[in-house]
Amino acid sequence: MILHDIAHCRAGDKGDTSILSLFPYRDEDFPLLVREVTAERVRAHLAGQLRGEVVRYVLPNLCALQFRCRQALDGGVTTSLALDTHGKGLSFRLLSLPIG
């Protein structure tokens, strides 16, 4: 099983920071996400793209996890040499994480 099977994700950008928010389709899968999708695993899974720290916020009221990833966007939208300068694709790369 991969994350894509049980969760959806949105990527946002601020400067050189990528913000990934993760939501289970079913609220009962939230504890599984909290247990398995740690900041360390996100950083390891997206290594190569993320060069800075990853901070995780747990938001039980919303059944959501939020990951703030520093130095993730090749310097930021305007100066990046990447094709996807906003890092929009990072959310779906995260969803390829094996889980369970």
Binding site: R10, I19, S21, Y25, L62, A64, Q66, T78, T79, L81
Partner: protein, 423 residues
């Protein structure tokens, strides 16, 4: 309890025109907000203004308004937008002239004061890297994020144009105006900021950045409708979209937008408030209707964020394709050759499908000649590289970098200028 309906007619400068028109015609709005100013857009506007003093505002402003403003006048909808970009006064003049031409007796108010380029201390370290502004490159723009308090005095007009303001402030100000809120009351400022944050990306709330076939189905995406919110005086809001439009408003679409671009959900800072999202609840109340409440607000931050643009050099981008057997190897060889021929290694990317490989070469250079030299080496691969190369595309663009600093609120002196009949 007093209620007002506010709609979102654009979430970025390139947004479609039609959904805003549908909102104005069919949704019974009091206010429509068009958010069209991304982080880098204002610096690009400053560049255009340098060559033409009457330019610098959103290039699509007149095309968008020519279709929208007659409808807004007919339905009595106030329109607010940051399409003023780097030249809000010129945008106001152009809009007033358009209203004249259309025979509409409507007033325009322009919020200025965000442009602080001649006041910013170039020695201020950037938040992103701690390096003083002046060491990044020649500064071309510095715009302070103004808050709802700067917009309030403009709300007697039918059309309100701004330059740089915080996106949620464009929504908070008309809500405060309609519902009699005091902006210094953190719970109200937080509620309005949360609503503005959810609406500011328009179609991203109604399924416009959501579909994933087989997992997340979105009906009628080709006729995507844009969102509105019904807001009560206590700050609770129900989000929806016009009946008969495509897209969807669900707990899932609203949650994705709720945390979008929020670097700290415990303290989202705007010029108006410090917003804490931890107690927010998102509940479906009917088809395409979602109720959101629970924003926690703390007093606004003491300083304003200022977005600074600087000349960062030139970006060269060039691509070439190789097809058929061994295409990946030939494209990779082309990348090695061009890297050897250039003075500094460019960024090389290969996109490969079953039958085709496309090589992309990108570089950031200090001047235009160096960027064009990169493009030239890729073009020269036609007859100086591996077999079968075709479809070269090259481009050279000036890059305006963006960094941020914090500055005392006094750096900005907001003012309002009006054109035509304004209450």
């Amino acid at each position: 309890m007093r209620t007002t309906r506010i709609g979102s007619g654009a979430g970025f400068a390139g947004d479609r025109f039609e959904p805003a028109e549908v909102l104005v015609r069919h949704a019974g709005l009091a206010d429509l907000v068009l958010e069209c100013l991304a982080e880098r857009t204002i610096a690009l506007g400053q560049q255009r203004r340098l060559t033409d003093p009457a330019a610098g505002y959103d290039p699509r402003l007149l095309a968008r308004f020519r279709r929208l403003l007659p409808l807004a006048a007919e339905h009595g909808v106030r329109v607010l937008s940051n399409m003023g970009a780097a030249n809000p006064l010129a945008a106001g003049r152009a809009t007033a002239a358009l209203l004249d031409e259309l025979g509409l007796d409507r007033g325009v108010a322009v919020v200025t004061g965000d442009d602080v380029l001649d006041r910013i201390d170039p020695r201020t370290p950037a938040l992103e890297d701690g390096v003083p502004l002046e060491e990044h490159g020649e500064l071309v723009s510095a715009n302070a994020y103004l808050g709802a308090d700067a917009i309030m005095p403009a709300l007697g007009a039918d059309v309100v144009l701004t330059g740089r303001v915080a996106d949620p402030s464009l929504f908070l100000a008309p809500l405060a105006d309609r519902l009699g809120w005091d902006l210094a009351d953190p719970p109200r400022a937080a509620a309005g900021t949360l609503i503005g944050h959810l609406l500011e990306c328009a179609g991203q709330l109604t399924g416009g950045y959501f579909a994933d076939p087989g997992r997340k189905e979105v009906p009628g995406l080709a006729e995507l409708g844009f969102p509105f919110a019904d807001v009560t005086a206590d700050g609770a809001a129900v989000f929806g979209k016009p009946d008969g439009t495509g897209g969807l408003v669900t707990r899932a679409t609203v949650r994705e937008q709720l945390l979008y671009e929020i670097t700290d959900p415990t303290a989202y800072l705007t010029p108006d408030v410090e917003l804490d999202l931890r107690e927010v609840t998102v509940r479906e109340t009917g088809p395409d209707r979602v109720a959101v409440r629970g924003a926690i607000g703390r007093a606004r931050p003491p300083r304003l964020k200022v977005s600074v643009g600087y000349r960062a050099g030139f970006r060269a981008e060039a691509e070439i394709s190789y097809e058929g057997p061994n295409s990946r190897e030939r494209a990779a060889l082309a990348g090695e050759i061009v890297t050897k021929r250039l003075p500094a290694p460019p960024r090389i990317q290969l996109s490969t499908s079953d039958h085709e490989s496309r090589l992309r070469v990108a570089a950031l250079t200090r001047d235009r000649d160096a960027a064009e030299a990169v493009c030239h080496e890729v073009e020269a691969l036609y007859t100086n590289g591996p077999a079968g190369g075709g479809g070269v595309r090259t481009s050279t663009t000036e890059v305006i970098g963006i960094v941020s600093v914090l500055a005392d609120r006094e750096i900005a002196e907001p003012a309002v200028t009006t054109f035509g009949p304004v209450r």
